[in-house]
Amino acid sequence: MTIHLKIWRQARGAKDGKFHDYTVENVAAEMSFLEMLDILNEQLVKKGEEAIEFDNDCREGICGTCGMVVDGVAHGTHAGCTTCEIRMRSYKDGDTITVEPFRASAFPIIKDLVVDRSAFDRIQAKGGYVSTNVGSAPDGNAQLIPKSDADNAMDAATCIGCGACVAACPNGSASLFVSAKISQFSWLPQGDAERTRRALRMVEQMDSEGFGDCSNHGECEAVCPKEISIQNIARMRREFVKAAFKG
């Protein structure tokens, strides 16, 4: 099939960019969305034009590197998958697809579709961990954890940190990402000692990075490729309020 594309191009360091039109012929149904972009880049390089830059790595939906807004939706309109998991069978011959970067004030554009998501790392460094040194851990079964608690922790822990939640949120909030980490540890006895400090510091850092507030739009949950629940945000709020009272 033939696919028409409107892709955002922005030079590194430039304040603004614009959409360029491209056409890719002979797109096969089994191709992934990124493979289709690879073919386009092959065409561009052969013509002596610069390839379109986009972040990608594992190409199986787990590393969280890829991420772009496809037809107005972060990671595209197909629920529960990352951009790299989209297959071209979702489209038909002659379709026009609009592709642009994740847009949020806390995610500056680096070049074309590549954005800077390092704010997530700085939030994580403010307490998204259990402080335990290597080498002194008790036996893994010394503390029993109910299966349901472990499963709940795992549900939150599956977040891949791709940033789609931020891109989808009208306020540019990072609440789903931050709440997933806070929730994971709140379900586990290991994380309990630092519960208060973690909630306060991570939320403070999130605010200082320029992410907006959460006002319950639910767009984050709708686009999340790992289907992380918005309930985590409610949980984060409870953790934060409790922590604020404790000081």
Partner: protein, 640 residues
């Protein structure tokens, strides 16, 4: 002149070697003394991130580099099935010795006894440590940790977190790293690629790295360098690795004097989604754990093109269960991969392509119900459906072997030190623990054992005893290496040819898969060496590149890596040609039993090959490390 390498294995009984070694090792006192030492760690996967975090915790001054935009995306994140540990929680007779035995046998008696024993010993601590860090492993209703079994073993010793074990262990490492970044002991350099190693007075003292966004070439000095940069299976172009996984840091270190060992040992994983077209960029793995409940089969009749559900039970050949009754579908990866090739070569395959077999869950769904099967493998089934459009709940999966893990890598001694003093190599980037084949759920184990437990000890011991003079990045050695790096880029950008990086890489991949893949022979390997040399010429004469070196330029990054793959591919073929035997992931067609099983030659090949680079255009020289087995009886490997 070829020489025999000394692995510096400590004396004494096998079970006491590591403990005794730690007592014998020198230490660096805490506080200011440790802070004075600067250590470069390249890579943030389980081995690199684990090492950087632990060294930071101990108080060293650590610089940690990764090519990804954040350390949390290192390719360890993609491992699915699990991590082994000799905990014997299931009371099924597991022990440190049994894990050691299974790993040595699984590696076809081509790994080092002392290293493997240490790995088995440390495995139990890894689980404890990860639990303490908040890794949400699967649990039983009673609250204890859950286990499952993996290929090549008869006990359930694999710990897992759904089908995302690598992700959860890596996030554990990343969180430990984040804690050290916050504490200021680890300085993180994301989107930086190591391009070369700087040696001063014969010791590794720094690296040259490129900041991938700005293209800036930078120099970094240190007292020791740890490489944990993963494997090299993208040499096949199509592999299960992430598209940015590459061998450049290891290969450049090799060209500076680090020997490269056993490059021909590559693991072809039996359960990947088959190739679909020539536009494809990678292959997707389906966890080995699926073989716990999935039954592998092909139609009995060659050329049978009926859909799987139309083929009656008595016309299906469950060839693994037939050929290997004791292990059945759970034979090790090398055995299962070759068995699939044997069937497909006879024209017996799934309807989809000549290179695919079935992995069928209908019996398990009938026995356990859809919910239980979904609970165990749901995310993998979803992933498969996304790719192929078929649901494994309704119709068998189609799978075929794919290049996956590379057992070869830079040669290291027992202290994980390469042949360059002060250059340590950890995880998949070294050659040491898996021999000629890696058993399932052992990659994560080695990554974390090296990262959390081995590197921090051995590097400290080196620093305590090393006579290191002060160096700065202004010394001649740094300038010279930086110049080499710059002229390499100029050369690449000045070719201005017509063939794209992908185009040339695809050709390399086909040569490697056809001639240096699941089965090799003398003629094919000689042919491969010739063809790779031609392709190297084509690369340097006709490469098409756009953009510049002082910008974010993925094409340039890939071209730089491809140049190294073209050289490494040639070495892989040479190594395979030299090894006139079959073992593990290396199958020489000339050396097989009457029933088609791999035939080792222990008399002549019970050694580790270690290749020394001799300069551009020169043939490398091979050195040997003889292997001896004092604690295990060397037997013909059988899973029947």
């Amino acid at each position: 002149m070829s020489k025999i390498l000394d692995a510096k294995i400590p004396g004494g009984p096998l079970a006491d070697k590591w403990d005794k070694h730690m007592i014998d090792n020198k230490l660096v006192a805490p506080g200011g003394n440790r802070r004075k030492f600067r250590i470069i760690v390249v890579g943030t996967g389980l081995a690199g991130g684990g090492a950087a975090a632990t060294l930071g915790e101990l108080g060293y001054n650590v610089l940690n580099f990764c090519i990804q935009d954040t350390p949390r995306r290192a390719h360890s994140v993609a491992a699915q099935g699990g991590i082994n540990a000799a905990k014997n929680y299931q009371n099924d007779g597991d022990s440190v010795y049994r894990l050691f035995y299974d790993t040595i046998k699984g590696g076809d008696y081509r790994s080092r006894e002392a290293n493997v024993y240490r790995l088995a010993q440390l495995s139990t601590h890894i689980i404890d440590q990860s639990v303490a860090m908040g890794v949400p492993f699967a649990r039983e209703y009673g609250g204890t940790l859950a286990n499952r079994s993996f290929g090549g073993v008869q006990v359930s010793r694999t710990f897992y977190a759904r089908g995302q074990t690598g992700q959860q262990l890596l996030l554990g490492v990343y969180s430990a790293l984040s804690r050290q970044i916050d504490a200021g002991t680890v300085k993180m350099f994301p989107r930086h690629e190591m391009l070369d190693l700087v040696i001063v007075d014969g010791k590794a003292r720094g690296i040259i790295a490129r900041e991938l966004i700005t293209g800036e070439i930078k120099r970094y000095e240190a007292d020791a360098v740890v490489l944990a940069t993963g494997g090299y299976s993208p040499v096949f172009y199509l592999s299960t690795n992430a598209v940015n996984s590459n061998a450049t840091a290891a290969w450049r270190a090799h060209k500076r004097g680090a020997f490269f060992s056993n490059p021909c040992y590559t693991q072809i994983h039996p359960t990947a989604v088959p190739q679909m077209g020539d536009y494809q960029s990678k292959l997707t793995l389906m966890s080995e754990s699926l073989r716990n409940d999935g039954r592998v089969w092909v139609p009995k009749k060659a050329g049978d093109t009926r859909r799987p559900n139309e083929i009656p039970e008595n016309e299906r050949d469950y060839y693994l269960e037939r050929r290997y009754p004791a292990f059945g579908n759970l034979v090790p990866r090398d055995i299962a991969s070759r068995a699939a090739k044997v069937e497909c070569d006879q024209g017996k395959h799934a309807y989809y392509s000549d290179f695919s077999v079935y992995l069928d869950f209908s019996e398990a769904i009938g026995r356990l119900g859809k919910d239980v099967v979904g609970d165990r493998y749901g995310n993998l089934f979803d992933m498969y459906r996304e790719i192929t459009g078929d649901s494994p709940y309704e119709t068998p999966m189609m799978i075929y072997p794919a290049p996956h893990y590379t057992m070869g890598g830079l040669w290291v001694d027992y202290n994980l030190q390469s042949t360059i003093e002060g250059l340590f190599v950890a995880g998949e980037a070294n050659f040491s623990d898996h021999g000629a084949n890696r058993l399932g759920a052992s990659a994560l184990m080695q990554g974390l054992a090296d990262g959390y437990f081995v590197v921090p000890r051995v590097v400290a011991s080196y620093l305590a005893g090393a006579d290191l003079k002060a160096v700065t990045t202004e010394t001649e050695e740094f300038k010279a290496v930086e110049n080499d790096v710059r002229s390499h880029y100029d050369r690449l950008l000045n070719i201005k040819g017509s063939r794209t990086v992908r185009d040339i890489h695809w050709d390399l991949g086909r040569i490697m898969w056809d001639k240096v893949g699941m089965a090799r022979n003398k003629d094919g390997l000689n042919e491969a060496i010739g063809k790779i040399k031609e392709l190297q010429k084509a690369f340097w004469q006709d490469l098409a590149l756009t953009g510049s070196a002082d910008d974010l330029n993925k094409q340039l990054e890939q071209a730089n890596r491809l140049g190294d793959y073209l050289e490494l591919g040639e070495l892989m073929a040479r190594d395979a040609l030299m090894r006139e035997e079959s073992c593990g992931g290396h199958f020489r067609e000339e050396h097989q039993s009457e029933t088609g099983e791999a035939k080792r030659d222990d008399e002549n090949f019970m050694f580790v090959s270690a290749w020394e680079h001799q300069g551009e255009g020169q043939e490398p020289v091979m050195h040997k490390e003889d292997l001896s087995y004092e604690n295990i009886e060397v037997k013909t490997r059988s899973y029947k």
